[in-house]
């Protein structure tokens, strides 16, 4: 998911971003640009960001059931679904949407690893 301006990754505007039990947004955006990862609300307001060197990706205990990524930005943990809602809105069923999410997670994780982020268990 690259664009002409050089952004390395852009999830689109259907990322679910949460901390703990609190959902911050279901129409958020995850972007990697200029060596930094940013989490954005639907109106573009920045939730948090960090250089990729301070980013860690993990999977939770229930990853096999729900492909949610644990994204740590400078130690603060966010729970992120990159595009599950978009697939559901596009008409996919729950199982298909989760499978598509896992495929995107794989690509995203590989990109973060390549750009200097830390990946654990994925």
């Amino acid at each position: 998911m690259t664009n002409e301006s050089g952004t390395a990754f852009d999830s689109g505007d259907a990322a679910t971003i949460a901390t703990g039990m609190k959902v911050i947004t279901k129409l958020g955006r995850v972007v990697i640009d200029d060596g930094h990862l940013g989490l954005l609300r639907e109106n573009g307001d920045l939730i948090d960001s960090a250089p990729l060197s301070a980013v860690t990706l993990k999977k939770g205990l229930t990853y096999a059931l729900v492909p949610t990524l644990h994204v740590l930005l400078s130690g603060k943990k966010y729970l992120v679904n990159l595009s599950y809602e978009a697939h559901i809105n596009a008409g996919l069923g729950d199982a298909e949407a989760k499978e598509a999410q896992r495929d995107e997670n794989t690509a995203f994780v590989e990109l973060v690893r390549r750009l200097g982020g830390e990946v654990k268990g994925l």
Binding site: M21, V23, I24, T25, K26, V31, D33, D34, H36, G38, L40, R41, E42, N43, G44, D45, L46, S49, A50, P51, S74
Partner: protein, 263 residues
């Protein structure tokens, strides 16, 4: 407000040379009002971008909450997220917004009877740099604005809708901006947080949040960027009820499974 009121605002904008927008969904604005998951819609937006200073006024609408008038004014430099909440008549609690008390700053004299000042921890001196006694005195004398928020390179003034949008009050927004901006701009235009900003200065996302030309060279440190909210009592009750419901549902499910094995 009804259609006639909106038309009145539109006519006012035309007469003053402002731009009018009837609805602006999810405006790219920061501030505690815009942190909730429910999207904010700005209605009857008055965009005075060509004024000096430029400003924007809107009627902020969130599902299930009362409308509130918001006036947005740019600043020359980004500053820590600070909120001056009126002790009597603050609008923020009615919007379900509660601030953590460990971020509250004690003010000099009898200012505490008029306002509560909140700032991120470790930024107390910075808040007192901006909110000097003469600024506080000006705030006390300012009628109409209930709460003031500094966020990134913007100043947000929160007021009841009727204070800005009633028939004889449309010019109040410009009067408030003229009254407050000069003083607050003077207090903030030389603000710098370079030591704590550190590596954040190279963060493209942090710089992109700032709209004033040149402001991106002076980003605020991570700890000062956003004030922390707390859960209100009503929200805690809601969470408790939801948790009880989940436990009850789970228990019922377990009982059904267990009883099916027994029978």
């Amino acid at each position: 407000m009804n259609r006639a009121d909106s038309e009145r605002v539109a006519v006012y904008c035309r007469s003053e040379g402002y731009e009018y927008r009837s609805v602006w969904e999810n405006p790219p604005l920061s501030g505690v009002l815009f942190l909730a998951r429910a999207p904010v819609r700005l209605c009857d937006v008055v965009d005075a971008g060509d004024e000096e200073p430029p400003f924007l006024v809107g009627r902020a609408r969130r599902r299930g909450r009362r409308d509130v008038a918001v006036i947005v004014v740019p600043l020359r430099r980004p500053v820590p997220n600070m909120i001056l909440a009126g002790t009597r008549g603050s609008i923020l609690p009615s919007l379900g917004i509660a601030l953590r008390e460990d971020q509250r700053l004690r003010l000099e004299g009898d200012f505490n009877s008029h306002f509560s000042l909140y700032c991120p921890r470790e930024y107390e001196q910075d808040a007192l740099y901006v909110f000097t006694p003469d600024v506080m005195a000006l705030m006390i004398d300012t009628v109409g604005v209930r709460d003031v928020e500094f966020v990134d390179d913007r100043l947000l003034l929160y007021a009841p809708v009727e204070a800005i949008y009633r028939v004889d009050a449309l010019g109040n927004a410009k009067r408030l901006v003229d009254l407050l901006h000069a003083k607050l701009d003077r207090q903030t235009r030389l603000y710098s947080d370079l030591e704590r900003a550190g590596a954040a200065r190279k963060d493209p996302f942090r710089r992109a949040q700032l709209t004033t030309q040149g402001a991106g060279d002076f980003v605020v440190g991570n700890r000062g960027r956003r004030i922390r909210l707390r859960t209100t009592a009503l929200q805690k009750i809601g969470i408790g009820v939801a948790a009880l419901g989940a436990v009850a549902a789970g228990s019922y499910w377990l009982w059904m499974v267990f009883s099916s094995f027994i029978s």
